[in-house]
Amino acid sequence: MIGMPEGTWAIAGGKGGVGKSVVTLSAAYWLGRLKHQVALLDGDLGGANLHTMLGVRIPPRTLDDFVLKRVPTLDDLLLDTSLEGVRLIAGGSDTPALANPNYAQKTRLLRAMAAIETDLLLVDLGAGTSLNTLDLFLAAPNRVVVLTPQPTSIQNAYGFIKAAFFRLVAKELRGTPLKNLLDPGQFREAGAPQTAEELFQEIAIGAPDAIDAVKRAVDDLEIHLIVNMIRSPKEEKVGPVVSEVCRKFLGVRTRILGAIPYDPKIERWALAMEQGALIRQAGDGGALRCAYDIAYRMADRTRQADSERTKRAS
């Protein structure tokens, strides 16, 4: 496992259009304003568009250049943006190698991500639960799932967390008699375990040597939730509801990182950014105000984790 700096944040959502990119950008905006160095990485390996949202039509350098080994490090790809203190690594243009990297490519990418010179690295992941998305998500020390109160979003967010949970356990089962337990085919079979408890029971029987490591990995997994596009106070409950199901059925800890109201001003803000306006003014109240709270918590948590790591190391 590649050790990622504590300031690495992966932002996923399971479903498209829930506001992953807007949340990432607005958090980046505030983190920049708080004088942190921020790097954005467009981790939507199949359909990159973060650069467009930042007003960059044709990025001069993209992840393609790294994958095709035209540049040795990801720092070589950093582009300045209209957001103060925020730089961007633009996603590639549908290079098949990128949409579906092999193991060696993935490892090289993760190593390079760990080496980027920045305070915070925000990785905007694509929709869906492809293994690559799950692996990037799990590799980051901080993991965020963005969801909205829409039923499909709730279900996809939970489905994404569950898929990440199974992927994590599957990694621990490598080299054990149950190494195929969570293969996609087996996973859907009738009688396949549906909850952490059932899964642990099967592992305790079939691969007792692995059970401790599996439980430890799940204990260490923590996921942040951001509920976006809230239209009524009741809808804010979506966060605690998903948290409760994750706890009860998967034994996965989740924290609510923030809640963002539905705010038509976001569209205007996004449009201004897309037109390349130099963003200095956040506007008043609304979604961006909530994004400030989220950014503040992200910075705070990163600082805490960093100091804990230094303490452990000394």
Binding site: Y158, K162, L178, Q186, A190, E202, K234, V241, V245
Partner: protein, 305 residues
């Protein structure tokens, strides 16, 4: 011993016509006790497995795989036989049948079943207890002491499955925890005690072939009744279905607990309808987490207009 002679020896061992070896301890010891050949006659093993499974002797077929595994290095071909065995649809319930191997090994999935088989946890020891000589106790938990017995079956020339062992010893760990109740009606004369014919039970365990029940009311009425062998009608309300599913079963064992004033019983379904099979599948494989998610969303967030 030649490979085919070994298989012949296994066959007679399994039909109870030879001396009974104790099949415990380490592999070396086991090999010394078992009729073992240096080479494995895979076709012979396969034929014997088929023959035994065809007679409903699934546990015996598993034991053959276990013995064969003790004699070779690569288990790959045996795993293939195991997955074929696990895919076998059990015959019409016959009380003298062995349990289906997937039940015995905790899963119908070869990877898990094999790991139980492979980890030397399938023990076969001669039974010198009360159940007649010339039989073996086969278990997956004897190595952890009798109190931790997960499963045990008797098997011998006159195979009598499970019924006489402690009920607690017959439960398998991977069954689902259920929060289900069933309405029960005892069929036929209940004896002199009034009101002992209808009661409600908690379903603790459910498969398409039978159920484990706990009756918490009517303790005084049920206690001491000769229930084993009695038939009952069981109506099961399955969440998400409007009509309860009803079927007839036979009580295989009971156990009263005076401290909790409850009666536990095991029921075998006599002619389970197809919808019960479906209902069980829904319950067991149903996405309980997603159902729970929706129930929480509905009560806390409400439906979105």
């Amino acid at each position: 011993m030649t490979p085919s002679a070994a298989i012949e020896a296994w066959r007679s061992l399994l039909s109870g016509t030879s001396d009974r070896p104790s099949w415990r301890g380490d592999t070396a010891r086991r090999r010394a006790l078992l009729p073992v050949a240096d080479e494995l006659d895979l076709l012979g093993v396969s034929a014997l497995v088929d023959e035994l499974a065809g007679r409903g002797r699934y546990i015996a077929a598993l034991a053959v795989l276990r013995m064969a595994n003790a004699t070779i290095d690569s288990s790959a071909p045996l795993k293939k036989l195991l997955s074929e065995l696990l895919a076998i649809t059990p015959r019409e319930a016959d009380p003298s049948d062995d349990p289906v191997p997937s039940e015995f090994l905790g899963s119908h999935r070869p990877a898990i079943a094999w790991s139980v088989l492979e980890r030397d946890r399938l023990e076969i020891v001669p039974n010198d207890g009360d159940f007649g000589r010339n039989s073996w106790v086969i278990s997956t938990g004897l190595d952890r002491g009798p109190s931790r017995l997960d499963w045990a079956f008797l098997w011998g020339s006159d195979t009598e499955v499970a019924g006489k062992l402690r009920p607690a010893g017959r439960r398998k760990v991977t069954r689902r925890k259920l929060e289900l109740t069933a309405a029960i009606a005892l069929l036929g004369p209940a004896g002199p005690r009034q009101g002992a014919t209808r009661f409600t039970a908690q379903v603790t365990d459910l498969t398409a072939r039978g159920a484990g029940l706990v009756v918490v009311d009517r303790f005084d009425r049920l206690y001491g009744l000769q229930l084993v062998g009695k038939k009952l009608r069981l109506s099961l309300g399955i969440p998400g279905r409007t009509e309860p599913i009803s079927t007839i079963g036979e009580i295989c064992w009971t156990e009263g607990d005076e401290t909790t004033r409850s009666t536990q019983m095991g029921v075998r379904f006599l002619d389970p309808p197809a919808e019960l099979q479906e209902g069980v599948a829904e319950l067991i494989d149903g996405r309980r987490d997603v159902q729970y998610l929706w129930s929480l969303v509905e009560s806390h967030v409400g439906r979105r207009s």
